[in-house]
Structure formats: C-alpha cells, structure tokens
C-alpha cells in the first residue's frame, strides 16, 4: 500500500454521502440527538452538521455536554452503564446507532484523542503498531513498521524519536505522549479524529505543537475538538459550536461566533461575563 493511500481514506468508506444527507462535505450529521445518564438529560435535541477536512471546535463551560457529545460520535459512551439516547447521528451517511452497527469498525473510522495522554505501558513502536496489528490492517512485519513510521512522521515524532522506538512510551514528555496518542490513532486510518481537550494537560509549547498539528491534519481529516480554551478555538477551528446546559446554543464559522455572535448567551460567554 502506498503512502498516499495510507493517509487517505480506508477503502470501505464511501467517498461521498447520499444526496439526501446534504452536501458532499457534510461528514457527521446530527439529528434531534438527546442523551441521558440515567434520568439526567446531558444533551438536548442537538442538530448540527460537521464538515470534512475542517477543524470544528466545541466550547462551553464544564458539564455543558460537549465531551458527552464527542463521545457519542464514536460511541465511547457505551462503556458507561445506564446511558440512553434519542435521535440519530450519521457518519458518512450511515446511522451509527443501529442494532447492527459494528462499533469496533466505527471507532476505527472515528479515532479519539483523550484529555490526558494515555499511551499503553509498552514501547513507542508497540503503541503505534497496536491498531494495525489488532485490526489486521497490516500484511507483514515490514508493513507494520512502515505504517508506524508514517504515523509517527505525521505528528513529527519520527524525526525526534525514530532511533529510539523500543523505549517505553511512558518515559516521554507529556507533549510527546499526546502526539504519540495522535499517531496511534492515525495508524488505524481513521477519517474523523475526535479530540477531548487534548492540550489541557500540556505546557504552552507542547500546546502550540498540537495546535499546529491539528491544522495540518485538517487537510486530510475531519477534526472535532472540545476545548476550554477560547483562544485555542479561535486559533485552530473553522467552525465553532457553543454548548450551554446540554443545548447547542450557536454553531457557525469561528470568525462569526467570535466577532458577531447571534445569541446574547454566546456573547456573554466568550467575553467572559458568564461561564
């Protein structure tokens, strides 16, 4: 498999979505989606569309439901007991909450980067090779190595660590660990990458590195990032959604949200009067 194919889409993904679902660039379609933890309604009637090859930022105060929404897109909420949902989310035209949805396959196509870097307590190489090995993407050992090299190059770690891949991943700096986690996700050939406050455990220099990486990755992937940091949302995203108490108050081009918010609530939040 060539490098171009590898960083592109997995073969099973339809390149364009059905015409009934809107424009070809609309990759994630959320329709009347509500989500409950037991009796508590964490998300209320969400409707939005996320475009391919863009960075979409989700902002809002703690507990407003933005992380819950993010984890609904790759169904990581399934690991929590007593959750319930209504409505639908479609990824590339396919509803992901059907009885016959292959959740493992969904999570391969929709990768996730967590708030705290969570590399496995294994070597750098084994961390990145984990996806290709487990998912059976790689043909032989050379193929695994090549995929690992490519993924590490994409996050700039190959230059830094190419000769030390057998070192334990937990010995890396937090910033390197987070980039390693991104590389680990890239190695599974996802189309969408969800990032849940990926910089909140990092220092400013490492944060800038991740933000630059997000911009570069947006040329090939659809990126959805949850962030507490409004400057970060303004810097990296094409579109921004503002969540408040489980509702999506406002969603639009980042420039518009930060310069001409339509809702009073949004304006109060981004100017720091409420939060």
């Amino acid at each position: 498999m060539s490098a171009a194919e590898l960083v592109g889409m997995s073969g099973s993904m339809p390149e364009s979505v059905g015409s009934s679902d809107g424009a070809a660039d609309d990759l994630i379609l959320v329709q009347d989606f509500s989500f409950y933890y037991g009796a508590f309604r964490a998300l209320e009637n969400l409707n939005l569309t996320v475009r391919d090859r863009e960075v979409t930022a989700l902002i809002g105060p703690s507990g407003c439901g933005k992380s819950t929404f993010l984890r609904a897109i790759n169904r990581m909420n399934d690991t929590i007991r007593g959750v319930r949902y209504e409505g639908d989310i479609r990824v590339a035209g396919q509803s992901i909450y059907q009885a016959d949805t292959d959740v493992a396959d969904l999570r391969q196509r929709v990768g996730m980067v967590f708030q705290r870097p969570n590399p496995f307590p294994q070597s750098i190489f084994d961390n990145v090779a984990y996806g290709p090995r487990v998912l059976g993407l790689a043909g032989d050992k050379a193929d695994v190595s090549e995929r690992t090299r490519l993924a590490l190059s994409q996050v700039g770690l190959w230059e830094e660590l190419g000769d030390r891949l057998d070192r334990p991943a937990l010995a890396l700096s937090p910033g390197q660990q987070q980039r390693l986690c991104i590389a680990r996700t890239l190695a599974t050939e996802p189309r969408i990458i969800l990032m849940d406050e990926p910089c909140s455990a990092l220092d400013p220099v490492a944060t800038l590195a991740i933000e630059g990486l997000m911009r570069r990755l947006a040329e090939r992937y659809c990126i959805v990032v949850v962030t507490h940091n409004m400057q970060q949302a303004a810097r990296v995203s094409d579109r921004t959604g503002f969540f408040w108490l489980g509702r999506l108050v406002e969603f639009g081009p980042t420039n518009d949200i930060f310069t001409l918010p339509q809702e009073k609530l949004t304006e109060d939040y981004i100017t720091g009067r409420r939060g």
Partner: protein, 308 residues
C-alpha cells in the same frame, strides 16, 4: 490571617513534642523489621543444623534411591520429590488457567452486582481449613476419581484437584486486584482505536497487570507446594515412584505429608529424624526459589515500564 496563624501553631505544637518521640519510634520500627529478618535466618539455621547430620551419615547417592523405606535405612527422596512435583503440577495446571479466567471475568466482564456477590464468596473459600477440604476430597472427590478408572481414588490427581481448589481463591483475588488497578484510560485508548473488548483485555489490560498476575500465580504455587493436611488425606501416601501413562492416577506421597506423618514416630537424633529435617530444608529452598523467580519477573516488568 490571625486565625490561620493560630491554626498553624496548633498543628505544629504536637509535632514539636513528637520530635522527642521520633528517635524512639524509629528504633521500634527498625527493631520490628530486623526481628523479622532475624527470625527467618534463625529458622534457616535451625533447619540446616538439624539436616546436616543426615548429609554426613548418608552418602549423597543414597538419596537417589527409588525407595523410601526408613526402617531399612533406605532414604531415597526421589519418590517424595516426584510425588510433590506431580501433585503441584496438577494443581497449578488447573488452578492457574481457571483462576486467571475467573479473575478476568470478575474484573472485566461480570456486571458489578454479580462481582459484589462473588468476590466475598471467593474470599470465604480462602478461609476454609485445609483439613475440611481434605475431608471433602476423601468423601466426595476420591470416589469420582476412582470411577474414572483409577485403581483407587486416592491419587496424585485427587491431591492436585484439592490443592487447585485451595490455591484458586489466592490466585483469583490477587489477579483480580491487579486487573482492577489497570487505569481505565488504557482500556478507553484501546477501545477507541477499534479494538474489541477481548483484544483490549488480552493485549492491553493483562500485559499492564502482569506483575500482579505473576505474583498471584507464584503465591498460588507456593500454597500448593507447602500444603500438607489435605494432601495427606487424599493422595494415598504410597512412597513409590509413579510410572507410565497413568502416573497421575497412582497413589503418591508428597514431601510435606512424609514429614507430617513420620515426625511423631522417629527417634530424636536418629538418622531418619535428620533426613526429615533435610526434606524440610529442601521444601524451604523450593519455595525460596519460587519467590526469587517471581521477584525477578516482577522486577523485570518494572524496569521495562521505565519512568511513569
């Protein structure tokens, strides 16, 4: 400000009087720690001292004799060592896979309410006196083994089954604790990559819990090697070397059972007496070796993890 300063001085005052106690507390703790080492050393010296006469009175080659027949001064240890190894091997072969699978089930798969019921039950199992298990083995298990075709129900296999049962609670609880201690973020990371639950358990959770799992297995083996009463009741206690394909279904005698059965009847200071102590020293060395291997496996794991 005043309030916080008052609080500060209130907390420092007891510490200052604690300073006077500090050297004494330190001495007491050191004494307790050293006495543990001292007692182990004493036991070892005692064992060596009492088994040495056996080594001087009997040529080493005599211990290789296939027969254990103390009345005729035949002290072949082969049958006893083989008996212990067989019973332990059966116990480990059953208890380790079963215990690990149970621990995985409890830690990763069982719904929480079921775990809350099962875990205390398993800990109760660990508290059953071994003599009671020996009784159960004698009454319930031995007839079953005999029905499998063995000439008698009291065999190495029966002893191994009972021992497996005794080692299981140890293996399950310690392995389950180790699995439980693996951070949820590792599981999330694996699941989010598209791995299945089983792939996540097998390739991320178990390797991360390895040091605890090794400890669990080693403690289980240690329990199996050292157990006496239950084994004495169900293995038939025939001191002969089992042979052939049916060796598991022949009566054997373990090292522990030999000491327990014969110690009361030997003349103090006689050769037989000292040979029994030699068997004890041998058991001590075996468990010591198991612990060293475990410590090394766990230690290698730690360095493999690097900082973290």
């Amino acid at each position: 400000m005043d309030a916080s300063r008052a609080a500060l001085s209130r907390t420092t005052r007891p510490t200052r009087s604690g300073n006077r106690m500090e050297p004494w507390i330190e001495r007491a703790v050191r004494l307790a720690g050293l006495s543990a080492i001292f007692i182990v050393a004493l036991i070892f010296i005692f064992l060596i001292r009492l088994s040495l006469p056996a080594l001087t009175r009997i040529p080493l080659s005599a211990f290789g004799d296939l027969r254990w027949y103390p009345i005729e001064e035949r002290f072949g240890l082969v049958s006893l060592v083989v008996g212990s190894l067989l019973v332990t091997a059966v116990a480990v072969g059953i208890a380790v896979p079963l215990g690990l699978v149970t621990a995985i089930y409890l830690g990763e798969i069982a719904p929480p309410w079921l775990g809350d019921i099962l875990k205390p039950l398993i800990e109760i199992l660990a508290g059953i006196p071994s003599i009671v298990l020996g009784f159960v083995g004698w009454v319930a298990l031995a007839p079953l083994v005999q029905r499998l075709g063995a000439p008698t129900g009291l065999t190495a296999f029966t002893g191994g089954l009972i021992l497996a049962y005794m080692a299981l609670p140890t293996i399950i609880s310690i392995a389950e604790d180790a699995i439980d201690a693996v951070p949820k973020s590792y599981r999330d990371g694996s699941l989010a990559l598209g791995a299945t639950r089983w792939q996540t358990i097998y390739r991320v959770v178990l390797p991360a819990a390895r040091s605890g799992i090794v400890t669990a297995v080693m403690l289980g083996i240690g329990r199996a090697v050292g157990e006496t009463m239950a084994v004495m009741m169900v293995t038939g206690n025939a001191a002969h070397v089992p042979r052939g394909t049916s060796m598991l279904f022949q009566p054997v005698r373990t090292m522990t059972a030999t000491i327990a059965a014969e110690m009361g009847e030997v003349a103090r200071g006689g050769t037989h007496y000292h040979v029994l102590f030699l068997i004890g020293a041998l058991l001590f060395l075996i468990t010591f070796a198991i612990n060293s291997v475990a410590a090394r496996l766990v230690g290698r794991r730690r360095t493999g993890e690097g900082g973290g």
